[in-house]
């Protein structure tokens, strides 16, 4: 096999050289308005590897081409609209085209529109709101841009993949979180102007910096000398996540002595986003300084600091949405006369990156980066060790609770409904009163507000080498080392008038820390849990890319070693021997191989094929079953396996650009961990006579299958009018029946876990946005510098996240291990059917105009999302409460379900308006 590859490589090489003939294509490009020559315009013969860039005089020359016939010459430059000229190349006749014109692209501000989606990033505990749009913003592909701009408000996931399947690099440093693999958009939000130099390699295609994920890799460069000299001030008004945004940035370009710098500051704020009381308060600071040492070497320092604080919003049951509306948020209440949110996400993690660029010779570049990130991430919430559940939507406060009684209690149902509609918010006064009442008696807190904190310190170093062996062969390689020390704990951030907090589990009386029993903790003190997560990754990557006239191919290899270790700082009484001190050290070896082939039948018809096989370490989150309380590791833990293929057909004519892709991704051996309060546990192993407990649910050895196709078509009917269509139709399903076990401090088994055997998940859909999405729209771009566009997007097959526990034998077995006497399989089937949300239509409008006033450019950009104000569910999950047949059946028979699923609704009509001045 090896020999065969070598032989074919040689065959291609010789084949190419035999056919080589000499041919020159040259010309010049000018600005369509000022008629001044344009430099740095990229010129490409589409469907070939031949390309060039214009010089200061706007001239270019592509030498030594050896293609003949009809081709399209593509001209592109940042800030200008692409232009495609049809050409015919004759043998032995040089081609020269003078004075091709490029028009300023009024739609160039569109990226602002994408970035707001990453601003929205909720990144909730549940992860349902994971957003991939930021990954795609640099893409030119019609389908990917549609997915980023039009679909992401619906939490559409490309190929059904989570953002953790993509890799985000800033100056070559991987930024995905080691905890859950996801991208932490909030760590670099509000500095859009300086995050614009991006390179994107989609899916399994080759990236010169990194092996990348199955979804691809985006690489952001903040190298100061690469910014265009000038500044920009932007003001934005919106009713989505923030109300106002103000940003300013300035780049010096290369100044004397080889220095260059870029600065950006930004502020995003608002008292309320689309959901009630979701305030937004974010500041952003960015600096990048570069010093060139001669021609060959330069050193760049980048600092990014974007403290971000925002109020979260709740998923709700249908009952709650019906009583209130889709803006309802149960997390807030009036404090004096101010809306106060009880759940705040507070992130403050500066990033420092030092990069060394070294052009060893004309064909070889070596980039070495060091980065250090530290800071804190906090998510606050209320704790009620000595009081009733403060949630205004607690099930016992809703009408359904009273209607579900054996004899429906209509009076109280009515009163509850009335109360919820008029007062259904957090009652801060009552909590303060309770604490003050207790304090007067010398008693501990009934309520507090605390933060789940993650304080990280991460150090990364890597070196990336790129060398062109010749015009056809590019070798890339990198070595990376990253080390993370993450302290996770709960910290009191508001005593709410109480004297102190008793650090004991109020639910079952366990000491949270036996080293310090019955500790009375005050504001700023650590409670509940406290542990350190140590992680390190060392990885290497090597890749060879070959480019020829009709065929390109590459092969990339990756190997990595991941280590995790938990170190408990609290000794939890429920896990006395397994909570304090260091856990076993987990060690994972991952390797990956991917390869791709592009065959150009003609310039119009191109086929692209990719394949990859990789094994990777599970992220920290799915390695430890309950890291807050103990050192237990998920059973049978090992690397995940991914096999992925895709095949694309690309067709390009003068008018039409299109791409059709089929994909197949087979994922094996991942783990899913959930936390909830379970009712209806019928297994032995729980305290006598109890059927409910707060549990950790561990689903391990999960296989999923993702397959489908993607289509993107763009038809440029005139130079200013373009039709766009995109579609993605997929099936993302569970492909096996993984094993499930629960752990809980309430379990009396030796290891605190109960095995529930297989969860019959096979063929259930993997939740997370619509599985199919279709978009159709147009864009009109007037030569007078205004443009307008509209799209209609139709979302199909959005599924609820099913509860795996109800798909185990626990569902139909009674205490005695025999099926419930009244078990009816037909009813059960009905109960366990996965809810599919209604399909829905979202219409979006965008438009803008730009002006040139003296040396300034003024731009205006407006977008309106969900113009028709359609109401739709974007996601949801089944509550783990009614875990068995009898309880679930009973709950379903009630007039309104007490423990029905919780949902997220998409936003109604929202706007985003942006003005900016460039100079």
């Amino acid at each position: 096999m090896k020999n065969f590859i070598l032989i074919s490589l040689c065959f291609f090489c010789s084949f190419q050289s035999v056919l080589a003939q000499v041919q020159n294509i040259s010309g010049s490009v000018k600005d369509g308005v000022s008629l001044l020559p344009l430099d740095q315009v990229s010129i490409q013969i589409e469907g070939t590897n031949y390309s060039a860039e214009t010089n200061k005089l706007g001239e270019f020359n592509i030498e030594n081409t050896n293609v003949f016939g009809e081709y399209i010459l593509k001209l592109s430059k940042t800030g200008y609209a692409d232009k495609r000229y049809p050409i015919i190349i004759y043998r032995d006749i040089a081609l020269h085209i003078d004075d091709m014109f490029l028009q300023r692209d009024a739609t160039a501000n569109q990226d602002l529109y994408t970035i707001i989606l990453t601003d929205d990033e909720l990144n909730d505990d549940t992860g349902v709101a994971d957003n991939i749009s930021g990954l795609l913003q640099a893409s030119q592909d019609v389908f990917q841009r549609t997915a980023a701009f039009e679909f992401s408000g619906s939490f559409f996931k490309i190929r059904g993949l989570d953002s953790s399947e993509g890799t985000l690099l800033i100056n070559g440093i991987e930024m995905n979180s080691m905890y859950n693999g996801r991208m932490q958009w909030s760590n670099w939000g509000g500095i859009n102007d300086v995050m614009r130099n991006q390179e994107f390699s989609f899916g399994l295609s080759a990236s010169t910096l990194n092996f990348g994920g199955v979804l691809g890799a985006t690489s952001v460069s903040t190298r100061a000398s690469k910014y265009r000299q000038g500044g920009r001030i932007t003001y934005t008004s919106s009713n989505r996540s923030y109300s106002n945004r103000l940003m300013a940035s300035y780049a010096s370009g290369l100044v004397k002595n080889g220095w260059a710098y870029a600065l950006s500051i930004g502020k995003r704020w608002g008292n309320e986003g689309y959901q009630d009381a979701t305030f937004y308060d974010a500041n952003s600071f960015f600096i990048s300084v570069e010093k060139n040492f001669g021609e060959k070497q330069s050193l760049n320092f980048t600092g990014i600091y974007t403290p971000n604080k925002r109020g979260k919003s709740s998923p709700n049951t249908q009952e709650v949405f019906n009583l209130r509306d889709i803006k309802y948020n149960e997390y807030w209440g009036y404090h004096n006369d101010e809306k106060r949110n009880s759940r705040i996400k507070d992130v403050s993690q500066p990033i420092f990156i030092l990069s060394h660029f070294w052009d060893i010779n004309a064909n070889t570049e070596l980039q070495t980066n060091m980065s250090y990130t530290f800071g804190k991430q906090g998510q606050s919430r209320l704790d009620y060790p000595g009081g009733g559940n403060p949630s205004p939507a607690y099930y016992q406060k809703l009408p359904s609770y009273y209607l579900a009684k054996v004899e429906p209690d209509y009076t109280n149902a009515y009163l509850a409904e009335h109360e919820f509609i008029s007062n259904g918010q957090v009652n801060w006064n009552r909590m303060y009163d309770a604490n003050i009442t207790n304090a007067d008696q010398g008693l501990e807190a009934a309520y507090i507000q605390y933060q789940d904190r993650t304080d990280d310190k991460q150090f990364t170093i890597n070196s990336i080498l790129n060398t062109e062996i010749n015009d056809h062969i590019l070798l890339s390689g990198s070595l990376n080392y990253s080390q993370l020390k993450s302290n996770n704990f709960a910290e009191i951030n508001d005593m709410l008038g109480a004297l102190y907090y008793l650090n004991v589990d109020a639910f079952d009386g366990w000491q949270y820390d036996m080293q310090n029993p019955n500790a009375l903790v005050e504001e700023g003190g650590k409670i509940k849990y406290n542990y350190i997560m140590n992680a390190s990754i060392i990885s290497g990557f090597a890749q060879a890319q070959f480019k020829y006239r009709t065929i390109d191919y590459f092969i990339a290899l990756n190997i990595n070693n991941t280590k995790y270790q938990r170190e408990g700082l609290f000794q939890n009484e429920a896990f006395q021997n397994n909570s304090l001190g260091k856990s076993a050290s987990l060690n994972f070896i991952g390797f990956g191989i991917k390869s791709g082939l592009t065959y150009k039948f003609t310039a119009k018809h191109v086929v692209d094929l990719h394949a990859a096989y990789l094994t990777k370490a599970p992220d920290f989150q799915s390695s430890f079953s309950n890291p807050r309380e103990n050192n237990a590791v998920v059973k049978d833990i090992s690397e995940e396996h991914v096999m992925a293929f895709d095949l694309s057909y690309i067709y390009r004519s003068r008018i039409i650009t299109s791409k059709l892709t089929g994909f197949y991704i087979d994922n094996k051996g991942s783990n899913e961990i959930g936390f909830y309060y379970a009712d209806g546990l019928t297994s032995a192993g729980i305290v006598f006579n109890e059927t409910s407990a707060f549990v950790q649910e561990i689903l391990y050895g999960v296989n999923t299958l993702h397959y489908g196709f993607e289509l993107g078509i763009e038809a440029k009917l005139t130079s200013s009018f373009k039709l766009k269509a995109a579609a993605s139709a997929g099936q993302y399903i569970y492909n096996n029946n993984p094993d499930l076990y629960l752990t809980s401090s309430s379990f009396v088994t030796d290891d605190g876990s109960i095995n529930f055997g297989e969860s019959d998940l096979k063929n259930y859909k993997v939740a997370g946005g619509p599985q199919s999405a279709f978009s159709f729209g147009f864009e009109y771009s007037d030569p007078e510098y205004w443009w307008f566009g509209a799209t209609a997007n139709y979302m199909v097959n959005t599924y609820i996240d099913v509860s795996p526990l109800t798909r185990t034998a626990n569902f139909y077995l009674d205490d005695d291990g025999l099926p419930f006497i009244d078990y009816d399989e037909n009813v059960a089937k009905q109960l366990l059917k996965q809810e599919r949300f209604d399909d829905y239509l979202v219409v979006n409008l965008i438009g803008g105009k730009s002006w040139k006033i003296a040396d300034y450019y003024l731009g205006l950009f407006v977008s309106i999302n969900n113009l028709l104000d359609n109401t739709f569910k974007t996601g949801g999950f089944e509550q783990g409460r009614n875990a068995n047949y009898r309880e679930l059946k009973e709950d379903n028979e009630h007039p309104i379900r007490v423990f029905g699923p919780k949902y997220w609704y998409g936003r109604g009509t929202t706007y985003f308006a942006n003005v900016n001045i460039r100079f």
Binding site: D281, R340, I344, Y432, T437, Q441, L443
Partner: protein, 468 residues
């Protein structure tokens, strides 16, 4: 160059703007005024009382509005004031609070049932609370405890809703120390329900050693027996603990001492029970007690009724069996080979019965320290009017019962709350004050036609003792 200057100016303005924050921040102080509505409502009530628009009634008066078996709704504009005597801090009480009329030496107490958990952090122990009664209900709970509630739930009173709590229960700023009322087990009756009391010289039986307050085999509540030494035996009472209490797994103390708690009734209302607010109220550090030992005493006189003939009219030698009203006399009974005396009016045709059983005369001049001791049980006792009196006379001439001078002897006798057919020790009753010839009489009042008054009293092991 000028452009850069402008830029700098703009940037510095922007920088200033960054420093100003205009959204929610972390620094929240205690909301003020806190509980404004409640305070205003209370002022209105106090004003209303002064002006006579609102009537303040006592808990005692309130309880008298109860009609057995019914739930009554308050229609008048009246308020009742009380001091919280229970606390659900430990989870031992659930959705109920008790209030008593005075912080010390209370005369009456009542239950309030409300749909609120952890009410201790609002209606804390000792808090002065006003209840605006209009539209609320008075009735019994499922434990047959008289309570104020929010609605009529069949023949029971239902929980106050969150809204009703807000509009009817008002706290004053006053929290006082509740001084526990000192009681003996045998004193406990209906009237003490809801009061915070203290019992001294209590211990748990030896067979409960190493047991916890809650027994894991129970579903909801565990009843643990407490005992006190009384005469030649133990006097017992029930401590009831919920499976939801935070101290349920604490081990019962093994020593003797005091216990403070709230008197209540078990589910269904069958027994009086003591319910703890907190195990801090259990202080048992003294050594265990022992009941009196018969070997330490000399028997001066003893009657065991062991020559009884079942169901015959009592004719024990030397005893006088006399009916003051009606046809019923004391009888001789045998159960499990044990003979005893019994007086019961069930099935008799008399509307009123008064029956006397008088001991033979006892010479009180031979010894110095004489004590009386007997055992007594009951069955089918329903009312305090179906009573027994233990009386003494030194001027009784042996025949004329009604013309002799009879004084009451303080001995423990069974009440309707005691288990049927269980003989209970009278305690050691000091009778050394009497001289001459002493007659002891047991006088029962009942009825043969009134079902509430046709219970029976049983007497056994009548003894007069002196210390060796």
């Amino acid at each position: 160059m000028k452009k850069i200057k402008n830029t700098n100016r703009i940037l510095s303005i922007l920088f200033l703007m960054l420093l100003m924050s205009c959204v929610q921040d972390d620094d929240f102080s205690v909301p003020s005024p806190l509980n404004q509505e409640e305070n205003e409502a209370l002022i209105d009530i106090q004003k209303g009382i002064e002006e006579g628009v609102i009537t303040e009634i006592s808990i005692e008066a309130l309880k008298q509005q109860f009609v057995a078996g019914e739930v009554v709704q308050f229609s008048s504009n009246s308020v009742v004031k009380g001091y919280v005597s229970s606390s659900d801090k430990t989870g031992n009480f659930y959705k109920e609070i008790y209030i008593q009329d005075q912080p010390s030496n209370p005369k009456a107490a009542i239950n309030i049932v409300l749909n609120q958990v952890d009410s201790y952090n609002q209606f804390n122990l000792g808090r002065e609370v006003y209840i605006s009664l209009k539209d609320l209900y008075l009735g019994e709970t499922v434990s047959e405890v008289l309570a104020i509630g929010g609605f009529e739930d069949g023949s029971r009173v239902g929980l106050l809703t969150e809204n009703q709590i807000k509009s009817h229960l008002f706290r004053s700023s006053e929290t006082v120390e509740i001084e526990p009322l000192e009681l003996n087990f045998s004193d406990i009756n209906e009237n003490y329900i809801g009061m915070f009391i203290v019992i001294n010289n209590v211990e748990f039986p030896e067979n409960l050693k190493d047991q916890s307050y809650f027994n894991a085999i129970d579903d909801f509540d565990t009843q643990r027996t407490m005992q006190r030494c009384e005469g030649f035996s133990y006097e017992e009472f029930i401590l009831e603990t919920s499976s939801f209490s935070s101290f349920k797994n604490e081990i019962l103390p093994t020593q003797n001492g005091t216990i403070k708690g709230v008197i209540s009734k078990s589910y269904g209302g069958d027994n009086f029970v003591l319910v703890l607010n907190d195990t801090k109220d259990v202080v048992m550090t003294d050594s265990r007690c022992s009941p009196l030992n018969a070997d330490d005493f000399t028997v001066i006189f003893e009657e065991t009724f062991n020559d009884a003939i079942d169901n015959e009219t009592l004719d024990t030698e030397g005893w006088i069996n006399f009916s003051e009203r009606g046809q019923v006399l004391w009888t001789e009974q045998i159960y499990s080979k044990n003979g005893y005396a019994e007086f019961g009016t069930f099935g008799a045709n008399d509307t009123a019965n008064v029956g006397w059983l008088i001991s033979p005369g006892i010479d009180m001049d031979v010894y110095l320290n004489e004590f009386l001791n007997f055992k007594m049980g009951q069955h089918h006792l329903d009312s305090v009017r179906n009573k027994i009196e233990v009386l003494a006379s030194t001027d009784f001439n042996g025949t004329d019962v009604l013309n002799a001078t009879w004084t009451v002897i303080n001995a423990k006798v069974p009440t309707k709350y005691d288990e049927w057919y269980a003989f209970k020790d009278s305690g050691l009753v000091d009778i050394s004050e009497y001289t001459g010839t002493l007659y002891v009489a047991f006088k029962v009042t009942g009825s043969g036609t009134n079902e509430a008054l046709d219970g029976s009293y049983q007497l056994d092991d009548f003894r007069v003792l002196t210390e060796k």
